[in-house]
Symmetry: none
């Protein structure tokens, strides 16, 4: 898909924005979805001039993780490109990941000894504060720098989360990262062994074992965070970037590290924010409006409240976005696309496979088919139900950036 699009991309100037309200889609909670319940006068006005439809993130009935869902929105086939969770997290923390690196998500955890076995008593070490996390990471960094020829690097995330990067002597393949997560997922059990899940990952799994032994020793006297659970062993996926494929300068405008990371993976430069909120994001766009051709604006909290099962607050987040919308319209983008990366129905408290509403506003919109930016109204739009990987083609098409296919 991305190669066809790339082959047709012309050099016409345009300035476009893709706005992702994370997990915005829902299913009716009694009678209405979150989007149906929300008061959205500005979206209601915008949709009158917009082309609409619904996207399926991956395939019919498949619920996506955030990484896959975003890759699809960025125009890649998510079945061809898969990002490991460790890499996503690392990129989000501004850690450079290259082809020799093995990236791992870590949680500090509390363990106790029982009958000579370690038992996990808290998978998040009591959700220690980020300051505390910083202190412990410093200690780990001072004490663990290499395992044989492998270099080890730690970086703090928020609360109990951290990332560990193992730089290998040579390029590391996807198969070599196929190592079992050590998080037992429930308390009262021992941490799992980092078993090699295929023959090729034996060597790296031994390195991880040694790493865990060292971590155990260094953290031995910690009160809460006296061990770590490791997950999402992964290496850098090789994804052709926006600048390579389309010769455009693209920027991500996000408040959460993860999304900055995935944007960077496809060549989007993260804009720095003065305030870590929507107002800050809009100001960052304003300050950089002349520096980029494509902006990716990510709003997280719709998903978070969906995951919490908090219908009311998800509605509020949608309404909050609606209030800021007029400011975004002032930039006079050629194309504004608004959608979610997937649905997170608060009734389900989780990501889901349900179709996600899409709105595309440009001078070339087939408008007038949907009265509101809701799932059911967008189902009547001229885009119908389509796979998310096609959205970017629509955006470029609306912007006049794609040549004709064929003679």
């Amino acid at each position: 898909m991305h190669l066809l699009r790339s082959s047709l991309k012309n050099s016409n100037k345009s300035k476009n924005i893709l706005i992702v309200l994370d997990g915005v889609g829902g299913i009716p909670n009694k009678y209405k979805t979150e989007l149906e319940f929300a008061k959205t006068p500005n979206l209601n006005k915008l949709i009158k001039k917009s082309e609409t439809g619904c996207h399926i993130p991956i395939k019919e009935g498949i619920t996506p993780g955030s990484g896959s869902a975003h890759l699809a929105l960025f125009g890649y086939d998510p079945l061809d490109f898969n990002i490991g969770r460790g890499v996503l997290e690392a990129l989000g923390l501004d850690i450079d990941i290259g082809p020799k690196d093995l990236a791992i998500r870590g949680n500090f955890a509390s363990v106790k000894k029982e009958n000579k076995k370690l038992i996990v008593t808290d998978r998040r070490a009591g959700r220690i504060k980020t300051d505390e996390n910083n202190r412990i990471i410093k200690k780990l960094s001072q004490n663990i720098q290499t395992i044989g020829k492998y270099k080890v690097f730690f970086k703090s995330g928020l609360e109990h989360r951290f990332v560990c990067k193992i730089s290998c002597p040579t390029k590391v393949s996807k198969d070599e990262c196929d190592i079992q997560d050590t998080d037992p997922q429930v308390i009262g059990y021992s941490p799992l062994d980092p078993i090699n899940l295929n023959k090729k990952s034996l060597k790296t799994s031994i390195v991880v074992r040694k790493l865990l032994d060292k971590i155990r020793v260094v953290l031995n006297n910690e009160k809460n965070a006296n061990f770590a659970l490791l997950r999402g062993f992964s290496t850098y996926p090789s994804i052709p970037t926006f600048d390579t494929l389309y010769k455009i300068r693209s920027a991500s405008v996000t408040t959460y590290p993860m999304y900055k990371g995935i944007g960077r993976l496809v060549g989007m430069e993260p804009l720095s924010l003065k305030a870590n909120n929507l107002q800050g994001q809009i100001e960052a766009i304003k300050a950089n409006i002349n520096n980029y051709d494509f902006f990716y604006l990510h709003i997280k909290k719709t998903d978070s409240f969906g995951e919490d099962g908090n219908f009311k607050n998800k509605v509020k987040e949608i309404e909050k976005f609606d209030k800021f919308l007029p400011q975004l319209l002032e930039f006079n983008f050629n194309v504004i696309a608004i959608t979610g990366d997937h649905s997170t129905p608060s009734r389900m408290k989780s990501h889901s496979w349900h179709p996600v509403p899409v709105l595309i506003r440009s001078d070339n919109s087939f408008s007038g088919l949907s009265k509101r930016f809701t799932e059911s109204e967008c189902l009547s739009g001229s885009l119908g139900i389509f796979e998310a990987k096609h959205l970017l083609t629509y955006i470029f098409a609306h912007a006049g950036n794609l040549d004709k296919f064929g003679a």
Copy 2:
């Protein structure tokens, strides 16, 4: 598709049912389709809590046979897996078919000699009774057991139908079964020769010729059934089963042999019925509710009346099903999916390519978009128009049986 689904399938417990009203879809006969005309108070009630859409059995504009349409409903790409009609029929009659077997559908037929040529005077031998069929098959079995190194086995079907299995000395490929049907399709013509349709099927086609010569001799003195027409030469397709792919126990609840056969092909155990009707089918489910995770319930007559062009009786069959529906709801399935395998509009008196309504009832349904289980109402549903091979993914998704794809 089935591999992606299989890779995401988790071990969460659920109990689901797929109800197939054969050929239920229609096109308006004057003003209404059969589903629109039927009085269906129970379906009307159920659909209020259901997610809806329409499926296309194979691809846009392609009319399916029963085998392909069912394989798609069972989640296989019908373009990758093709079951020969002979095999389907054989499986339906409880005949074991393996990789060395060539399966053939047979019709007893009436022929006469005219100018030294055989002429078909009745393609169904006056629809002889099944008892009569049994007698003739016994005679054939006693007289024809081998053709060189090839073993021959006959089994009676209903009325004029039978199945012949030729067990070859070695494994037989799909190409080796590519032999022309001998049924001329109209009376007054000679039976066709079992011509080899490619080089690889020459050897087997000669065996079939010899078989026909022997059949002609054995049946020479029969009054009606003095010859046989052979069709659907085919061998066993290798299809991964439900238990292998999804680790679930599945059962078929069918009144017609063909559908038992196709269920068995994908690993469904056929439930035995005390009465060969819907009440018997429901009682079989009741008796086995704890033994299986997935039930496939097949209702045949909607298709039969469609094929006959009998609008009124097709409507009646739909209404009959509606009356039984409350009994099916009492089992408290996690997911109930109701659809057809294809459309059989009574106006067309044949299978067709038209989209078939789908209803999925679960706790995770995007409900409220369709007021009735009809073609036009289901077109407004959130599933849109999708290929039938995705239905099983939706069923598993609704049941909470699929993990997230990607990080």
